[in-house]
């Protein structure tokens, strides 16, 4: 029995992770809305990335095909990209001077 314990525990863990991360349409919608909001922030900073738009489009396409796992993952990736572009714009407000010819 003692030998079976880790096996059972692993099976439970795998089973729970599968159930926990299977994305629904609602998950996708929430992830997409968050990504869009982050990209709007980047737009306000005049610093959107083309890859954010492309990843958002890929998320939409997967959702339309009914693959919400893939769609949610893409939307989360788009959000990460949008946030990185906003971070870049903010940090460059002062960092650009490092490169200036003096």
């Amino acid at each position: 029995m003692n030998m079976l314990k880790p096996v059972l525990a692993s099976m439970l863990l795998i089973a729970s992770s599968v159930f926990a991360f299977a994305a629904s349409e609602d998950d996708y919608k929430a992830a997409y809305a968050a990504a869009e909001a982050a990209n709007k922030e980047a737009a306000a900073l005049r610093n959107q990335w083309t890859t954010t738009a492309a990843t958002l489009a890929a998320a939409k396409k997967s959702a339309e095909a009914g693959d919400f796992d893939k769609a949610t993952a893409a939307a989360k990736e788009a959000e990460a990209l949008a946030k990185a572009s906003s971070f870049q714009a903010t940090s460059e407000k002062t960092r650009w001077k490092d490169m200036e010819i003096r």
């Binding site: 991360f21 005049r46 610093n47 959107q48 990335w49 083309t50 890859t51 738009a53 796992d69 949610t72 993952a73 989360k76 990736e77 990460a80 990209l81 946030k83 990185a84 572009s85 971070f87 870049q88 714009a89 940090s91 460059e92 002062t94 960092r95 650009w96 001077k97 490092d98 490169m99 200036e100 010819i101 003096r102």
Partner: protein, 286 residues
Amino acid sequence: MRLTSAIPFASAALALAALTFAAPAPAADTVDPVKDAKAFQKFFTDKFPKVKLEDFVNGPYSMNEDLHKQWEEKEQFPPYEFSLEMGKEMFSKPFKNGKSYEDCFPNKGVGIRQNYPYFDEKEGKVVTLELALNRCREANGEPAFSYVKDEMAALTAYMAFTSRGKPMDIKIPSDPRALEAYEKGKEYFYTRRGQLNFSCATCHVQSPGERIRAEVLAPALGILNAMPIYRSEWSGMGTISRRFTSCNSQIRGVPLKPQDDEYRNLEYYLSYVSNGLPISGPGARP
């Protein structure tokens, strides 16, 4: 979390960490365009001691002897010739109201390219040649042209041709808004953007003469003096607006609209620091 979705997060986190721990910026100092232009030109002449100051306007063709030979051969049958002819014809053709471009510009538009862009104190903004051309059209009841190619490239090609050899002569009037526009243009030039985290300076200050894939990067000094250009890569002519927007796309940044304030300021800065170098447009590039 799945591995596929974990990878982008991890890479984004790493990128953010790299940006966070990078060197801090030096303190801000006063804006001195004259000093800037001197330092800018010295940087390039020190970096390329064999290239004459006036030759920087030939972009990648100034970077080594082989490329220079290519440029000389290209100039025998320049690919921008059709556009130049078209621009000349368009320039003299009257609008429907009987007026023409000549009525919108000093000296009837001939030999004035070197004075653009200028700071319009009435408007409080930079006015580029492309913008002035479209404003001229609209003021005379004609629709505006696309800023990036074809007709706009043809018109600016002709105007540049009439200024060939004249030194770039951009003025910064004693108006704090003009100085601000210049400084904002400088900021844009050195600001990293796009997913590739490149600024204009990454390619055109840090790496001129180097290859980026099959292309030889042009020095920033005199880069606008040759505009508009025929680019083999584009299979056609392109304006300054086209150059700016396509540079942004290439580094995976969403380009702004042509003639947005940022691009107007950038053109102002980049032209000012090339003051004294001859107008060589229209040009041809690989």
